[in-house]
Amino acid sequence: MARKALLISPELCIGCRGCQTACKSWNRLPATKTVNKGSAENPPDLTPNLYNKIRYVEMPSNSNTVRWLFVSQRCMHCDDAGCIKICPAPGALFKTKEGAVGFDKDKCIGCKLCVAGCPFDVPRYDEKDKVSKCHLCSDRIAEGLMPACAKTCPTGAIAYGDRDAIIGKAQKAGYQKLYGQTDLGGLGIMYAFKDTPKVYGMDESPAIPETIVFWHKVLKPLAYWGLGGAAAVSLLHYLVIGPKKDEGGE
């Protein structure tokens, strides 16, 4: 199965938020009460009931009163996913055969480690402490349908397809490298940025926290080998040198 991906083109986005609504509708997520913080961006952040949202970036501009950038924000479906790496519960977070990162609330133990392990601050947890995030409509794409957000988008700002095909097309259109093309082993959500990622509110070089990588490569195997090593040293000592015998002691 070819890895699937979304291509986000902020300059095509008109900020209608049809994607937010379509996502809520497909995933049966209730609306959340929000407050007006003086920006049209609403709600201000992802919530357990909001898997994707449009980030509104207002920039000074020479040709217009203001330059608006609308950036779709959600789980990036990383190839090397920090959330999966750190999760202590088997099956709570998993890769689908299309390359999406899905979740299973029944298997999630509510430890919230994934919240800290994700380079993009994506996972949220619901009132039962269970993980909640975009799953690339893995139920839809498994049936050959496109994700609800991409299906709804009226301008093509969210385009869905085979990851390789998307990259190929973007290259023909003049993008040398998409945002997310190689980060974290390649993201499942890529961005056609015309400016530096920072301008769009994105991290230049997203990475899993170093200590988590260190834990995965060193501390985790050390628990295994440390236990075995201590047992082996004890056994070896017993066989080679033997116990302390006190003449007349026992």
């Binding site: 202590p88 519960a89 919240v115 800290a116 501390l219 201590a230 004890s234």
Partner: protein, 202 residues
């Protein structure tokens, strides 16, 4: 044969509470680390195992704090005889090795206690931070740090504890009874804890 008391009943009880909670924590901890689904046969599910781990952590922490009264004062008395004991490998490197006279705990036991106390406090503090998520400006940073601390402490303990068990049983016949009856023969104590025996007036 004179028998003398080395551990009080409360000390013995507390040691086994500490050991039992540690085993539960270490086994479930291994389950989390390596996704050992076989453990579902014991705990039922990872959801139950998480609660068991968290509440066993509570017991472990309480028990660890109580050990401070039993072992910290003597463990902090670290002198020339302790250094000499380490230089001689504790007498464990050959059958003929002789070590300087030791206190109520020998130098190795003192070091072991300090390792268990420090890594125990670290694993408890970091565990509670992940579990209870205190109100701090950047909780994600705190959890990443706690995850690191929890796992470093775990590695230290998972190496130290098997060595402790070996040294307290097979390697030193006559030691285990301290944590069962609380007593040892005077002759045995004179050979291993001469300074202590002298201090308490034998």
């Amino acid at each position: 044969m004179t028998i003398i008391r080395k551990a009080s009943a409360f000390e013995i009880l507390n040691h086994w509470v500490l050991a039992a909670s540690f085993f539960i924590l270490a086994i479930s901890g291994f389950g989390f680390l390596f996704h050992l689904e076989q453990l579902n046969a014991v705990f039922g599910s990872f959801n139950v195992m998480k609660d068991v781990h968290n509440y066993a952590g509570l017991v472990f922490t309480a028990s660890l704090i109580l050990t401070i009264f039993h072992y910290l004062p003597v463990s902090l008395k670290f002198g020339a005889d302790d250094i000499a004991w380490f230089l001689k490998g504790g007498g464990y490197l050959s059958k003929k090795a002789k070590v300087p006279p030791q206190d109520e705990l020998n130098a190795g036991q003192k070091l072991y206690y300090i390792v268990i106390l420090l890594s125990g406090l670290a694993i408890a503090a970091s565990g509670f931070a992940v579990w209870l998520r205190p109100q701090v400006p950047d909780i994600r940073k705190l959890v990443v740090l706690s995850h690191l601390v929890h796992n470093i402490a775990f590695d230290l303990m998972i190496i130290a504890v098997p060595l402790h068990i070996y040294l307290a049983t097979l390697a030193n016949p006559g030691t285990l009874r301290i944590m069962i009856t609380g007593t040892v023969p005077l002759e045995w104590a004179k050979k291993r804890h001469a300074k202590w025996v002298q201090r308490i007036g034998y």
